[in-house]
């Protein structure tokens, strides 16, 4: 039995591009390896953590074809850091019966790219992250990925259960069809509070002291090339001691 599970760690009101890759990959795995009927044994569940307004983003994933959705929403989680986020999502995952968790790699600021690894650590599931390709062998209950990072290209595999994160470009996420959008409106998003989850840490071990916009860059020199720009560019490099 394959249960795909998508984790959206970082919630905006709009489904983050990178999470669409995760939804798409989960759908493809389920489509390739079993039925996709509502409530059937082969389902994609979208899980997410964030304020209730995040339900709209979750519904986008449902309109792409995900079967069910759970959103953890609790005022105590406002400002949760990566440790709390990973702990809460791990707790939620451990209460389901999932085999594969698929996450997007990062959000706009790359600050949450550590969460999939942290969930893997917490659950003691195998970590298959930064996947540019995913293959599932149902008979062997095994997942294999191509891990693509700046350190090179690795092939990795593991027995289920596994936590996978996918990089951008792994697939071409589908657009929700009209039928999908209508169907998604009828699907329920299960919104749960921390009380349902049991004991999880909610106080963050890191605090923001202050934040401020960075000062605008001082205006530089912009010239129009009259044949002397190359020389002026070299002069600029010399002046800045770059050559």
């Amino acid at each position: 039995m394959v249960d795909g599970l998508l984790d959206r760690a970082n919630v905006d009101a709009v489904l983050n591009d990178l999470d669409e890759y995760a939804v798409e990959e989960a759908l493809r795995i389920v489509e390739a390896h079993g039925g996709n009927e509502e409530g059937g044994p082969n389902t994609v569940t979208v899980i997410s953590m964030g304020p209730e307004r995040a339900t709209e983003a979750v519904r986008k994933a449902l309109s792409m074809g995900a079967n069910a959705a759970v959103l953890v929403s609790d005022p105590a989680l406002a400002g949760a850091d990566a440790v709390v986020t990973a702990s809460v999502l791990s707790q939620l995952i451990s209460q389901g019966s999932y085999d594969i968790v698929i996450c997007g790699t990062e959000s706009t600021d790359a600050r949450m790219s550590v969460v999939p690894a942290m969930i893997s650590e917490k659950l003691e599931w195998a970590q298959l992250t930064f996947a540019s390709k995913v293959e599932v062998d149902v008979a062997a209950q095994k997942a294999s990925i191509t891990r693509t990072t700046e350190a090179g290209v690795d092939e990795m595999s593991a027995q289920w259960p596994v936590v996978i994160s996918v990089v951008e470009k792994i697939n071409e996420p589908r657009y929700p069809s009209f039928k999908g959008i209508m169907a998604a409106k009828k699907k329920t998003i299960d919104v749960v509070g921390l009380a349902t989850l049991g004991t999880v840490p909610t106080s963050s071990w890191s605090t923001v002291i202050d934040s401020a916009p960075r000062p605008a860059r001082a205006a530089g020199v912009v010239i129009t090339d009259d044949g002397s720009a190359s020389q002026k560019f070299v002069d600029f490099l010399v002046e800045k001691k770059l050559i």
């Binding site: 690894a117 970590q127 090179g152 990795m156 027995q159 934040s211 912009v222 190359s230 490099l237």
Partner: protein
């Protein structure tokens, strides 16, 4: 004063510049111990490649499980070392691998984690740049142990010569950290140019190159620079995705960033606007990236780069 452990970073078995950078960041907080995790039989070779940076001591652990089981195995041993020597701060390099190891160590040790710091003060307060580098945030880990990852190329490295004491320790990787197995491993394809995120100078090409990166590469080579590309260029298949600079690609902050034929969408800016100096070459005087330029040329990038490459080579001759 807290003791600091850094996870030494190696490229091809040799300590990287990032190792010196995180050592420098750590030395502001306390005495730095570098943890060297190496394949069996190569610990001494790895450790001996650490010749620069304010490092007092090296701990070497050898195991082939690091390569075989990746992030989980490394995090497992790092956590065991932490439990034994109880540092106050542990620093990692902010690349995919370093961040993932740091995240697992934070979970395992019940500690707070801050990623992508660009500076750390002696009391452990970190500086991060968020929202594509437009906002500065100061944060602090409040748990007993602080786990911090430091973005490459943002700390002025102290290249002091060192010859730290070496100690070999033995740790077993726990079974729970061996669940994923590496079946093959290929190093990144290198063109003899520096790594994009570590390079002192990055020269990037965009739509304006029309797919011809030869002048961009020649100019980059004359400066010993790395080559980057905008998303428009990588999506068009003109340059590999691994070289994409921007929100969904690499974030770079070199001493000089040269943008050639790149208009400067917000997504691209997010990947390069913390560069110390920015030069922009574009035919279109309205290109938004000119707003960030310290030096800008409205003109043909092929002509300007070819001329500048000649000028640089003439100076070297």
């Amino acid at each position: 004063m807290s003791n600091v452990v850094i996870l030494a970073d190696f490229v091809g078995g040799v300590a990287s510049k990032s190792t010196v950078e995180i050592a420098t960041a750590g030395a502001g907080i306390g005495e730095v111990t570098a943890l060297v995790l190496a394949p069996v039989g190569q610990g001494a070779q790895y450790a001996n490649s650490i010749t620069q940076g304010p490092i007092a001591k090296i701990i070497v652990v050898e195991s082939n499980d690091f390569a075989l089981h990746g992030v989980a195995a490394v995090a497992d041993v790092v956590s065991q070392v932490i439990n034994e020597i109880k540092p106050g701060v542990v620093l990692f390099v902010s690349h995919a691998f370093g961040k993932e190891v740091a995240g697992r160590v934070a979970m395992k040790t019940g500690s707070g984690i801050i990623t992508d710091a660009v500076d750390i003060s002696p009391d452990g307060t970190t500086t991060q740049l968020v929202f594509g580098g437009s906002t500065t945030v100061h944060s602090k880990v409040t748990s007993e142990l602080s786990i911090i990852t430091v973005r490459p190329n943002t700390i002025a490295a102290n290249f002091v010569e060192v010859n730290p004491t070496q100690e070999v320790k033995s740790f077993e990787v726990s079974p729970s950290a061996k669940k994923a197995t590496t079946t093959s491993s290929l190093p990144p394809v290198k063109g003899g140019r520096p790594e994009l995120t570590e390079a002192n100078i990055v020269v990037s090409g965009g739509r304006g190159t029309n797919g011809d990166f030869s002048v961009v590469e020649a100019f980059a080579d004359s400066l010993g620079a790395a080559v980057g590309a905008s998303r428009a260029a990588t999506d068009a298949g003109w340059y590999p995705h691994s070289h994409q600079v921007g929100q969904t690609g690499k974030t770079v902050s070199p001493a000089l960033y040269v943008a050639c034929g790149i208009s400067g969408a917000i997504q691209h800016r997010a990947g390069m606007q913390t560069s110390k100096l920015i030069a922009v070459i574009n035919k279109d005087p309205e290109a938004p990236l000119f707003e960030l330029a310290d030096f800008g040329v409205v003109g043909d990038l092929f002509t300007v780069l070819a001329g500048a490459t000649e000028g640089i080579q003439a100076r070297k001759a």
